[in-house]
C-alpha cells in the first residue's frame, strides 16, 4: 500500500511544490527552455561556458532558490512596476534588469561570479516579467509613485472550490492546472513546434522597455486580469471574493501559454545578441 501513498504523495508534490516560488518552476523552466531552443549554436556554447557547462534551464529558478543567501540577490525584484497611465516600466525592477543586460554585454571583461549572477537574474526575472500576475501598476501623477494594483489578494477559484491568492494562481496554479503532468520540455515542444519567423520578429522587435510596456498593456487592456477578478479585501468571506470560473481559467491557460512563448523568444533574442559572437 505504500506504493499508492507514494504515488499520491508524488502527485501532490509535483502539483504543489512550486506553488511557493516565482512564476513557478515549471513556467520558468519552460521559458528558459524555449529560449534555449532558439539560441544560435555559438550563443548557446558561449553562455553555457559561463555557467559551468549547464543549460540555462538549470538556473531558471536559481534566484528564487538562492535569494535568501545574499542581500543583493534578494533585491533583484521579481514583480515589475508600471505607470498605470502609460504602462511604461518604472522603478528598480526595470532599472536592475537593464543594468544586468548592459553588464552582460561586457561579459568577457567581468569576473566569473558577476557574469553568473547576471545570467541567473536574466533567465529568471525576464520570465517573471512575462507573468501577468507580476505586473504591478502605480499612480505616477503625484510626487511619489503610489501603488494601485498588484495581484496579492485572494480570489475564489470556482472549478476547485477553494480560495487562493491571485498571485499564486498566476505564478504556478495556471501552468500546473493547464497541463498537469507536463515537464518543461513538453511545454517547449508543444508551444514552439512551428512558430513562424514573422511572429518571432514581431514579438522580439524593440527594446526591453518596449517589451515591458507591451506586457503591462496586454495585461491591462487585452488580458484584463485585474478587471475580470477585481481586488477584494482578503479578510472577506469566500462568497464575497472575486470569482475565477472555469471559463476564465481556460482563457488564463491560453494567456499563460502565449506569455511563456513570448518570454522565451525574447530571452533568446537578448542572449543571442550578447553571446552570439
Amino acid at each position: 500500500m505504500k506504493r499508492f501513498i507514494t504515488t499520491l504523495a508524488l502527485v501532490c508534490i509535483v502539483g504543489s511544490s512550486s506553488l511557493c516560488f516565482g512564476w513557478g518552476r515549471d513556467a520558468h523552466a519552460a521559458i528558459a527552455y524555449i529560449a534555449e531552443r532558439h539560441l544560435t549554436p555559438t550563443a548557446k556554447a558561449n553562455i553555457e561556458k559561463c555557467i559551468d557547462g549547464r543549460s540555462i534551464v538549470y538556473y531558471a529558478s536559481w534566484l528564487d532558490n538562492h535569494r535568501a543567501e545574499n542581500k543583493s540577490w534578494g533585491k533583484l525584484a521579481h514583480v515589475a512596476h508600471y505607470d498605470i497611465a502609460t504602462c511604461e516600466p518604472i522603478g528598480k525592477p526595470y532599472k536592475y534588469m537593464k543594468s544586468t543586460i548592459n553588464k552582460l554585454k561586457k561579459y568577457r571583461e567581468l569576473p566569473d561570479s558577476t557574469v553568473k549572477v547576471s545570467i541567473y537574474h536574466l533567465v529568471h526575472s525576464l520570465g517573471d516579467y512575462h507573468c501577468p500576475g507580476h505586473v504591478a501598476y502605480y499612480d505616477c501623477s503625484g510626487e511619489k509613485p503610489k501603488r494601485l494594483i498588484t495581484s496579492s489578494y485572494d480570489i475564489y477559484l470556482k472549478p476547485k472550490k477553494t480560495r487562493m491568492s491571485y498571485h499564486k494562481l498566476w505564478d504556478s496554479g495556471i501552468v500546473q492546472m493547464g497541463q498537469p503532468g507536463w515537464g518543461y520540455m513538453d511545454w517547449g515542444h508543444a508551444l514552439d513546434s512551428s512558430v513562424s519567423q514573422e511572429y518571432i520578429d514581431s514579438v522580439t522587435a524593440g527594446s526591453l522597455k518596449d517589451w515591458m510596456k507591451d506586457i503591462a498593456t496586454r495585461t491591462q487592456q487585452e488580458y484584463k486580469i485585474y478587471e475580470r477578478a477585481p481586488y477584494k479585501d482578503s479578510l472577506c468571506a469566500d462568497d464575497e471574493l472575486s470569482v475565477v470560473d472555469a471559463d476564465m481559467m481556460n482563457d488564463y491557460y491560453e494567456i499563460a501559454a502565449k506569455q511563456i512563448l513570448i518570454g522565451g523568444l525574447r530571452m533568446a533574442k537578448i542572449i543571442n545578441d550578447i553571446f552570439g559572437e
Binding site: L10, V11, S16, Q179, G181, G183, A190, S193, S194, V195
Partner: protein, 258 residues
Amino acid sequence: MKKLTFLLLFTVVFSYCAMAWDNRGHSTIAYIAERHLTPRAKANIESYIGGRSIVYYASWMDFNRSTPPMDVTRDWHVDYWTDGHRTDADGNPQPPCSLTQVKRIVSEMGNFRELSDSLVNINIKYLVHLVGDMHCPVHIDFPTSRPMKIKIDNKTVKVHAMWDAYVLNSKHNGTSPMQLAEEFDILTAEQIAKVQSSTPDEWHNETVEVSKKVIDMIPESKKITYDNYFNEAIKYAEDRITVAGYRLAAILNSIFDK
C-alpha cells in the same frame, strides 16, 4: 492534516474526475501520433493551430466541456452500454458517441481546405482527443461497473476515477508524456500498419472487449493493489494509448497529407 487531506483530494480526485485518460495519457497519445505524421500533414495541421503541436490540445476538450458553447460536447467522451447497445444514462438506445463524432469529423474534413479555419481548428482538437477517448477502456460505461466502488488503500473511488488517476501513475509516475511516447512507440512498421488498417468501428468494438476484461479483472473484494490489479491493468493502458496514437496519426495523415 485536514489541509493535507483536502489537497490530496483536490489534486487527485477533482482534477481527474470523469475524464477518460488523464492529461498525461492524452498527451502521450498525441505525441505518438505526431511521431508518425508525415511532414506535410504535420505542417498543414500546425498551420491551423498557431504553430503549436497537437500535443498542446490533447486534453482541450476536457478543459472546455463545461462552459457554453462547448457544453454540447460533454457527452461525446463516454458511451453508456447496456446489453450490447449504447444507451444514455437512463438506458435509452443511442449511437456510440465518440465513434459517431470521429466518423462525422473525418468525413467533414475530407476537403479541409474548403472549410473555415476555425472549423478545421476545432475539428483537430476534437480528433486529437476523441480518438484517445475511443481507446480508453473505461470510456465504455457498463451499468454494472458504473456504480462500482473501488477501494484503493483507504480511499473509495469509482472505476472511471480509478483508471484516470491511478493506472498510469502506478508505474509511470514522474514520467512526462514526451518520454512515455518514446517508451511506448516501439512497434515495427508492419505492426503499426496492421494496427492502422482497421476501421473506427472495429476500434470501438475492440474497446468494448477490453473494457469487459478490465472490469472482470477487478477482484471480488473490490480492494485493488498493484499486485492484484495495476500490474496487469497497466499493460492494457499502455497498449490502448499506443494503439490510439498510431490510429490518430493514420486519421490525421489521411486528412492532411495533401
